[in-house]
């Protein structure tokens, strides 16, 4: 019974999220180019360096994907919470908790363990601890109406100091007391064959983990009733409640899943990308994830590509700086792009306005063409697409003429 509605009312096209995101990226790049030009360097050469730094050989591509891994997972975490109308600003803390779990297990589990079993254990436990950390915020929100922004920020610092203490207590490096002992290669997510084919890059199993997570999250959100309930709570929690959806349960589930994703990001970051944890360091990735989710319009596919994009920028900045453009400028470019993604409402309005104008013009042109053919009373929406296109072509010259005259008249007055 899925026949297309032939005569649905015509209206102007809406700006698609993809268009909005791409224009944000474009504006960010333009702003970055202006910055580079202002310090007297050639912007095109600058962006060439960024591409060079991120993608010029296998190792660099591997590094970029390695860097993108945690951004994908963090982006997913923030996006998933967004879908339920929650702002997970605590991804950094959840990351730390997932990371410390993985690091402690890597330190204490025997090296003789079969690798697949070992990997399964650390992935599950990091995810679980991250989920617990996210669940606390969800629970507080559901039961006591504590705003999740407040509780997640608090939990960020709780995780920060717990990790500070646990590194010293359990996994300290005796030679340098501010960081954990480097994890053996066999106990990280790095894989010999991946390292070999990418020429010592940071690419590790975490990337596949991230891709799988994207698919799973897409499935949950788009294909299951749980996902539907979560999204319903996100769009209007009172309406959802009225419809019989358990709002409190949805909030707790959503925060727990978001926490689990961030926990996995911590695992890939501290036990894959890097092999140490430092004391007194809040990972920036938790906040980068917010930008990734925004740019990716909170959809799993969008998050994947926007994370890769940020990965390219982050890996390319080193090469950019090596040409004499200060690293600080490279960071500013990234920040500018983030800023433009955050103001996506303005961009959407801009495009919607343009589409509306062009739609009105076309409408007018059709009306003129129709009246020329003596069919003036006809309903536009009853015409086929082909016909409409032809009519627009017929009416456009006359409309342009008319506009011109109007303009001239105005100026004459």
């Amino acid at each position: 019974m899925k026949s297309k509605v032939a005569n649905k009312p015509l209206e102007a096209r809406k700006a698609s999220p993809l268009l909005v995101s791409l224009s944000a990226v474009f504006l960010g790049i333009v702003a970055g180019a202006i910055l580079i030009a202002m310090i007297g360097k050639n912007p095109i050469a600058g962006f060439d360096r960024i591409i060079f730094g991120a993608l010029s050989n296998v190792r660099r591509v591997g590094n970029t994907l390695g860097m993108s891994t945690q951004l994908i997972l963090i982006g997913l975490s923030v996006a998933f919470a967004f879908k339920t109308g929650l702002f997970n600003i605590g991804a950094s803390g959840q990351m730390l908790m997932g990371g410390i779990t993985g690091s402690i297990l890597a330190y204490y589990l025997p090296l003789s363990m079969p690798r697949p079993l070992y990997l399964l254990i650390i992935i599950l436990s990091s995810g679980l601890v991250g989920a617990l950390w996210g669940f606390i915020s969800g629970f507080l929100k559901a039961k006591f109406n504590v705003h999740e922004v407040v509780s997640t920020i608090m939990l960020n610092w709780t995780a920060y100091w717990l990790v500070y203490d646990w590194i010293q207590r359990f996994i300290v490096d005796p030679t340098i007391v501010v960081k954990s002992k480097p994890i053996e290669q066999a106990h990280t997510l790095r894989a010999g064959w991946l390292t070999d084919i990418t020429n010592f890059s940071t690419l590790n199993y975490g990337f596949f983990l991230a891709v799988i997570a994207c698919v799973i999250i897409w499935f949950i959100l788009d294909k299951t009733t749980v996902g539907f309930r979560l999204k319903a709570v996100g769009s209007n929690r009172f309406c959802a409640e009225y419809a019989g959806i358990k709002v409190n349960r949805s909030i707790m589930i959503s925060m727990a899943v978001a926490g689990a994703l961030a926990g996995l990001a911590g695992l890939t970051y501290y036990c894959g990308y890097s092999n140490i944890m430092e004391m007194g360091k809040m990972p920036n990735e938790g906040f980068d994830g917010i930008a990734v989710a925004l740019l990716g319009n909170c959809s799993p596919v969008g998050v994947f590509f926007s994370a890769i994009f940020f990965g390219i920028l982050k890996m390319g900045r080193g090469s950019l700086a090596a040409t004499g453009i200060p690293t600080e400028i490279a960071d500013t470019i990234i920040a500018t792009i983030i800023y433009f993604t955050a103001t996506n409402v303005i961009l959407a309005n801009f495009w919607n306005g343009r589409f509306k104008k062009s739609f009105e013009r076309k409408e007018e042109a059709i009306a003129i063409a129709l009246s020329n053919q003596g069919r003036s009373g006809e309903d536009i929406s009853s015409l086929s697409k082909e016909e409409r296109r032809n009519l627009v072509k017929l009416g456009m010259p006359e409309l342009k003429e008319k506009r011109k005259n109007e303009k001239n008249n105005k100026e004459a007055k």
Binding site: V30, A33, I34, A37, M38, G40, K41, N42, P43, I44, F52, G53, S56, R59, N63, I176, V177, V178, P182, F200, T202, Y273, S274, N275, I276, E278, G280, K281, N284, K314, M315, R317, G318, S319, A321, A322, T323, G324, T327, E328, F350, G353
Partner: protein, 370 residues
């Protein structure tokens, strides 16, 4: 909106053109100034060494390690007419350092200076990956093995601390001293041990009477905790300490700030700086400073030496260099406005004795506080 976009694009084009032309102009002037040697110099420029540096967790203007190294590298580059740049890595893990080193290497940099023990693992890996890269690490002996093209540099901080201890004891002649360290790592410990020996030496041989109390010798556990440094200093000055040796980076700046405040309110207390001449850090805004003297290690000097050697082809990799007073790479600043000429002369005497080998400063904590 459309107009705005157009304006932005126009601006972009204008700027990029102006910047291009600027570069061209610079090139043009340089070619005219070199005159007849144009051809020859062009050949050289193609193969000329590029000097690079990667910063550790601090910034390039930290008035300490990074800044010192950069000054040395930049001076060498300027004198030899070479290109130089520094990179700030995106984080402080081995991976981040290694990425930064690779970024420089791929841009053609074949000499890279890495200041700080945090680089140990990254340098160990980089020396295997890039065999034609001349890389130096400062403050770590690379216990795991030094590659053929690597130079590991450490200092005898105990000797610099020793001189600072003598100078402090002579200035106070009677009183009490304390110590605030960063992390309890060898380079900081050696400063501490040397300082104590210096005070004791002055008491025994130069007629001073300065006391040291174990409670006032503290490792703060951080190089970046300004507030903690200030708290520790407050407690020590309140307990009657007259001068504190602050070997703790940013935490030490907290100590110096407290000394500044107290001097401004009329108390006669001092702070002793570390790593570089920190006289300007203790500037009180009235032309005076609360920094009595500084226990220096000449980071800029060694960075300059190695960079010059690399450019002149006299670079010798695969070794560990330890520098101290004998090599004139450790000591107190050449000018100390807060020390009298007599004290400076007495310290210079001790320097001679150390160079002659009649006085030795132990590099271990045996029999000392912490």
């Amino acid at each position: 909106m459309r107009k705005l976009l157009a304006v932005l694009l126009v601006l972009l084009m204008v700027f990029s053109f102006s910047s291009c032309s600027k570069e061209e102009k610079a090139e043009a002037t340089s070619t005219t100034s070199t005159g007849t040697e144009v051809e020859a110099s062009k050949e050289e420029v193609k193969d000329a060494l590029k000097l690079g540096m990667v910063t550790d967790s601090g910034t390039i203007d930290d008035r300490s390690f990074n800044q010192g190294t950069w000054e040395g590298v930049a001076r060498a580059a300027e004198e030899l007419g070479l290109e130089c740049t520094y990179l700030r890595p995106s984080g402080t893990t081995t991976t981040d350092y290694l990425t930064a080193i690779s970024d420089l290497y791929d841009q053609g940099y074949r000499f890279i200076a890495c200041p700080g023990y945090l680089f140990a693992e990254a340098v160990a890996q980089a020396q295997q990956m890039y065999e034609d890269l001349m890389i130096i690490i400062i403050d770590d002996a690379l216990a795991a093995g030094i590659g053929d093209n690597t130079v590991a540099i450490t200092f005898r901080e105990n000797e610099a601390g020793f001189l600072a201890g003598i100078a402090t004891a002579l200035k106070l002649s009677e009183g009490e001293v304390g110590f605030v360290g960063g992390l309890e790592i060898p380079s900081v410990q050696k400063f501490n041990w040397g300082f104590q020996q210096g005070v004791t030496y002055a008491n025994e041989n130069l007629g001073t009477n300065v006391t040291m109390n174990a409670n006032n010798f503290v490792y703060s556990g951080s190089f970046a905790d300004l507030a903690l440094g200030q708290q520790l200093a407050t407690a020590m000055y309140d307990a009657g300490v007259d001068a504190i040796f602050a070997a703790a980076g940013g935490t030490g700046v907290g100590v110096i700030n407290e000394a500044k405040n107290r001097r401004l309110s009329g108390e006669d207390v001092w702070a002793i700086g570390v790593d570089v001449d920190q006289y300007s850090v203790g500037d009180m805004g009235n032309g005076e400073s609360c920094i009595l003297t500084s226990a220096m290690k000449d980071v800029a000097g060694v960075a300059y030496d190695q960079a010059t050697a690399a450019a002149n082809g006299t670079y010798e990799g695969g070794r560990h260099i330890e520098l101290g007073i004998a090599e004139d790479r450790a000591g107190i600043p050449a000018t100390n406005p807060n020390l009298t000429p007599e004290i400076e002369a007495q310290v210079a005497e001790v320097v001679k004795l150390i160079k002659a080998g009649t006085v030795t400063v132990q590099a271990t904590g045996d029999g000392l506080i912490k």
